[in-house]
């Protein structure tokens, strides 16, 4: 029996902005290979959670371990797919160049040929290789989102984090995106962050919800809810009436068994 290590751990994490308490006593974890959804209403602190996971902010109390180490040290192992809502449509850039950014180092120029090969491979994974030379601003919203997934995949990450992956996508684009994610499920840890608290994709293993306050606390905390199949197995309904402690895990201590 192999033990699969923990991908992300929050232990008693609290975080505040100067005039706003956002998170209070947040503790949860999930394992490598799992497909996780972090849901919460707008303004609940999902973006703050993401910043903490990616080491862009630090908690005032508690500890966060990303793939076994400090987020700042390990965040380059993560493929991050932002919403990219402030995208500039006049920015001159091709699809291939966007995806190559996924292989970029902190200061070096990198190996051009190797980066191109990796970028083309990632584009193939999202079935967009034929659009490699197309200007990025000529793509539809759904295609752009898949290019950003390819960019995140280009460096062959251990974990994929997607911020509101289905935002502003039509049904078909959303399905294509989840087909791509379905192929990655199991081999890559995936965490999606979304404001849709009712329904999640059937690919999701566990859902964490950021909408509760602990007694006497101002910031929000996380609870786990169970999931129930619906729409002939296409989606899962979040059972808000069934709460599980966020740090509960059915796997043996030290990791889930394979």
């Amino acid at each position: 029996m192999n033990i699969v290590p923990v991908a992300l751990t929050f232990h008693d994490v609290s975080f505040s902005y100067p005039h706003l308490k956002v998170l209070d006593d947040v503790s949860f974890h999930f394992h490598q290979g799992e497909f996780i959804a972090l849901v919460g209403p707008n303004g609940s602190g999902k973006s703050t959670m993401l910043k903490l996971v990616l080491g862009l902010e630090s908690p005032q109390t508690g500890t966060i371990k990303l793939l076994g180490d400090d987020p700042v040290r390990n965040r380059t192992l993560v493929g991050y797919v932002p919403q990219h809502a402030s995208y500039d449509p006049t920015f001159p850039i091709s699809v291939l160049e966007v995806v190559k950014m996924g292989c970029i180092g902190s200061l070096g120029r990198g190996n051009k040929q190797k980066n191109t090969e990796q970028a083309l491979k990632a584009l193939e994974q999202v079935e967009m290789k034929e659009l490699a030379d197309r200007p990025y601003n000529a793509l539809s919203g759904g295609q752009r989102r898949r290019v950003l997934v390819a960019r995140a995949l280009a460096a062959e990450p251990a974990m994929l984090i997607l911020d509101e992956p289905a935002a502003n996508l039509d049904r078909e684009s959303e399905q294509r995106l989840y087909t791509t994610l379905g192929k990655l499920k199991g081999s890559t840890t995936i965490m999606i962050v979304t404001h849709d608290m009712r329904i999640v994709s059937s690919l999701i293993d566990r859902v964490f919800c950021l909408d509760a306050h602990k007694e006497g606390k101002k910031g929000r905390t996380i609870v786990q809810h169970t999931l129930e199949d619906e729409m002939e197995g296409e989606t899962k309904r979040v059972r808000h009436d069934v709460k599980i402690p966020a740090d509960y895990c059915e796997y043996p201590a030290g990791g889930k068994s394979e």
């Binding site: 990616l54 862009l56 965040r75 380059t76 993560v78 991050y80 932002p82 990219h84 995208y87 500039d88 006049t90 920015f91 001159p92 850039i93 091709s94 160049e97 966007v98 190559k100 950014m101 996924g102 970029i104 180092g105 902190s106 200061l107 120029r109 990198g110 200007p135 960019r151």
Partner: protein, 288 residues
């Protein structure tokens, strides 16, 4: 027609070095306008560059005053300009990174305060000092040593743009993602701002504040319509910049009008024409 022939014969004549120097200044500054202008445009920091370029008037005014009153004899206006440029770049950079909501106010404040300090000190400077000469400059007064400085800055900017091209492109396209990839985005931003500040000082001494800000944005903006990526935007912007500078020099000479203002008008007309053409083209496609 004879005016054009006169211009070209003077351009190649050793008896008129000021025309030749102006021509080479156009070539060398085009590289800076093209490369830095493209970065400034895609990073959307033209407003920041505008504030820095106007704030340097404060440094120029103080340097002229200290030099003319004998308090610091021989102090070059460029020294004052560089100090003010780096100071304003530092303040704007820190405010932009730490307090985004105050950015606009601080930029406008630095812009206005810098210029006003310049005018106040120039008013108290013995002898006649005309602030407008710093606003529009005079490309025909460029010396050979100025050209050497420009060439040196060209080499530095070209090297940095080549060496850190992936990081510059990535931070301009998606800052948050770049940060997650481990790129020191704040350092890249402050470095771009500081280099732009130094380039602005050097360029504005030759061609004037107004022309600097126009040429940092208009050639790159025009190139943006044609370019496929940031590198080709830099190349097109350099070519456009040279085209505008040269035609401004030529027409300004022929009709005996200030060259700096002429360059800005040509670059502006070209950019607005290209923008209008793009709007018409999009409407036609929309109708079809």
């Amino acid at each position: 027609m004879s005016n054009i022939q006169d211009f070209f014969s003077m351009l190649f004549s050793p008896d008129f070095p000021f025309i030749r120097n102006a021509f080479f200044a156009g070539v060398l500054s085009s590289v800076l306008f093209g490369v830095l202008g493209s970065v400034v445009t895609v990073k959307r920091i033209a407003g920041l560059a505008g504030a820095i370029s106007h704030a340097v008037l404060g440094g120029i005014g103080i340097a002229l005053y200290l030099s003319a009153t004998g308090k610091v004899p021989g102090l070059s206006p460029m020294v004052g300009a560089i100090i003010f440029a780096l100071l304003s770049a530092g303040i704007i950079g820190v405010v932009s990174l730490r307090s985004k909501q105050r950015e606009d106010t601080v930029i406008q404040a630095i812009w206005a305060i810098g210029m006003s300090i310049g005018v106040l000190f120039m008013a108290k400077t013995p002898g006649y000092t005309d602030p407008s000469s710093y606003l529009f400059g005079n490309i025909l007064l460029i010396t050979s040593s100025d050209l050497t400085l420009l060439a040196l800055l060209d080499v530095i900017v070209l090297f940095l743009a080549w060496r850190f091209y992936p990081q510059i492109e990535a931070t301009a396209f998606d800052e948050e993602f770049s940060q997650v990839r481990g790129i020191p985005t704040k350092t890249v931003f402050l470095a771009i701002l500081s280099i732009t500040a130094v380039a602005v000082v050097l360029l504005q001494t030759f061609v004037g504040i107004v022309m600097v800000i126009a040429m940092l944005t208009l050639p790159a903006g025009t190139a943006g319509y044609k370019a496929k990526n940031l590198a080709s935007m830099m190349i097109f912007a350099t070519l456009f910049s040279f085209l505008f500078s040269f035609s401004g020099l030529l027409i300004g000479w022929i009709v005996d009008l200030p060259v700096g203002a002429m360059v800005v008008v040509i670059a502006g007309a070209f950019f607005l024409g290209r923008s209008a053409g793009d709007v018409i083209k999009k409407r036609r496609i929309g109708r079809d």
